[in-house]
């Protein structure tokens, strides 16, 4: 592997930082007021990635399934929490709902891919498990964020319809299936859109990486197709789970719409 691509030295890395100066110069010239945030964001990105590089290097030498699963679990937890952090409203238990949805969706999908499709030996080989899981998590997180946010906002916007249906004798499912469907649909849109133009508008990062690392483009494409299907399935399962859990919480067994459980984020 060492021979198939050019290794970037720290000096070359520093040279690449010149590129971020383009943004800074633009911000200063146009008085966008972004220079400070840009520099902080760039610094964070560099530190985070360098750190994760070291973590991964260490991780890939591990062969204890428990250690690797523990790391995967930490990644899942971070994804579950960040998914909620981007929604506008909260209710008691929302973090658990998100965690449970991210965990079940990513575990199912990644597990199936590792054992059933790619057939990695051993099944927890971190060189495969961690990057694949990471990509599934990132996309599931986005889907859950969108779906959950849309579901809560949808219930608020459609309170009149939902409660009118309830008052007419609808069950909670009959009254709320429209906001549930809307939320799942909205959550799925980015995944479907990106599949539509995959390879035409966007060259997926993972495939590009593999090609740079010297892999045969056809092999890289095969991996990419597998990962896109994993991402789509993970997002769908995660969104479905989180919206149904939120539905069960916000529409009580007494067929009531409990908007009083919702509060604005940051309060």
């Amino acid at each position: 592997m060492e021979d198939s691509y050019i290794v970037i030295s720290y000096g070359q890395l520093a040279l690449s930082a010149v590129l971020i100066l383009v943004n800074v110069a633009l911000s200063v010239a146009l008085q966008l007021g972004l220079a400070r945030s840009l520099l902080i964001a760039a610094l964070r990105m560099v530190v985070q990635l360098l750190l994760i590089g070291f973590v991964l290097e260490w991780l890939f030498t591990q062969d204890n399934a428990l250690v690797i699963l523990a790391i995967a679990l930490v990644m899942t937890a971070i994804a579950g929490v960040s998914a909620v952090n981007r929604t506008q409203r909260r209710f008691a238990g929302i973090y658990w709902h998100s965690l449970l949805s991210v965990l079940s969706a990513s575990a199912l999908v990644t597990g199936f891919a590792m054992v059933g499709i790619i057939r990695v030996q051993p099944w927890y080989d971190p060189q495969y498990l961690i990057p694949l899981m990471g990509m599934v998590l990132g996309n599931t997180l986005n889907g859950i964020s969108l779906g959950l946010d849309r579901f809560m906002e949808g219930l608020i916007a459609q309170q009149g319809q939902v409660e009118t249906l309830l008052a007419l004798g609808a069950t909670r499912w009959e009254a709320a299936h429209k906001p549930v469907r809307d939320a799942i649909r909205i959550g799925m849109i980015p995944t479907i859109n990106s599949m539509m133009v995959m390879g035409l508008v966007s060259l997926p990062g993972m495939m590009t990486g593999q090609i740079l690392a010297g892999a045969d483009p056809i092999d890289a494409v095969r991996y990419q197709i597998v990962i896109i299907f994993m991402i789509a399935a993970g997002a769908a399962l995660g969104i479905f789970a989180v919206v149904l859990l939120a539905y069960r919480r916000l529409l009580s067994p007494d067929h009531q719409l409990r908007l009083d459980y919702l509060e604005k984020a940051g309060q």
């Binding site: 009149g160 009118t164 249906l165 008052a167 007419l168 004798g169 069950t171 009959e174 067929h255």
Partner: protein, 218 residues
């Protein structure tokens, strides 16, 4: 069910908003043929009482019984199909007025029943509206038209108890009188009762046989 037994009874109801009790110890009974006015100054929580009676909001205190059975013994969709709350702000679903009227028969609670255009036409005629009313777009109804739609949508489901929250608030004087007459006719069938709020004291006197003053429980 004996005729002396209340259709709907409320015992010791209480409603809290924050740490303040809006009303407490509310008791009343609705009998077959009854039409009761629920009166109180604005902000006392007449709407909240109606929402509580159909359990759209959870109880904080007290008990409601329908046909002698506590609400816990009822499936709530069934209960709400028989004790029907018609909110003041009438909501139309997507589609025409007729779609709105038909659509509710898709609900599980009415699976055995069917939309009956004849009865709707009769009621519309009583309210001075022709069959063209059925073709109007639900999203573009005026406040008054939406109220007519909401009332007919509830009436066609043949509930036993109607909880009407300001049912004529957006209607002109003529249509208001027609709605009152329709309600009067509706109450003539056995085992029906109505609880009604109105900001119009004359209407309460015209339509209802007795009143509950919620302000007394504040």
């Amino acid at each position: 069910m004996t005729s002396s037994q209340a259709l709907l009874s409320a015992k010791n109801l209480g409603r809290q908003l924050g740490d303040r009790w809006l009303w407490q110890g509310v008791n009343f009974e609705l009998f077959a043929g009854d039409c009761v006015g629920l009166v109180a100054p604005s902000g006392v929580g007449k709407t909240l009482l109606m929402r509580n009676l159909v359990l759209l909001d959870p109880f904080q205190q007290g008990e409601v019984r329908f046909e002698g059975k506590p609400l816990a013994a009822w499936s709530l969709p069934t209960y709400r199909s028989r004790v029907m709350y018609v909110p003041q702000r009438a909501i139309a679903f997507d589609g025409t007025v007729q779609d709105n009227l038909k659509q509710v028969f898709d609900l599980g609670a009415y699976r055995q029943r069917q939309f009956d255009p004849a009865i709707i036409q009769t009621w519309l005629a009583q309210l001075g509206r022709g069959p063209e009313f059925l073709k109007l777009n639900g999203a573009r109804l005026s406040g008054g038209e939406a109220q007519i739609l909401a009332l007919l949508r509830a009436l066609q489901l043949d509930p036993q108890v109607l909880l009407l929250d300001e049912p004529t608030a957006s209607l002109d004087a003529t249509t208001t009188a027609q709605v009152e007459a329709l309600l009067h006719d509706w109450l003539q069938s056995p085992h029906r009762a109505c609880l009604l709020t109105s900001h119009d004291a004359d209407q309460i006197r015209r339509v209802t046989y007795r009143q509950i003053n919620l302000g007394e429980f504040a």
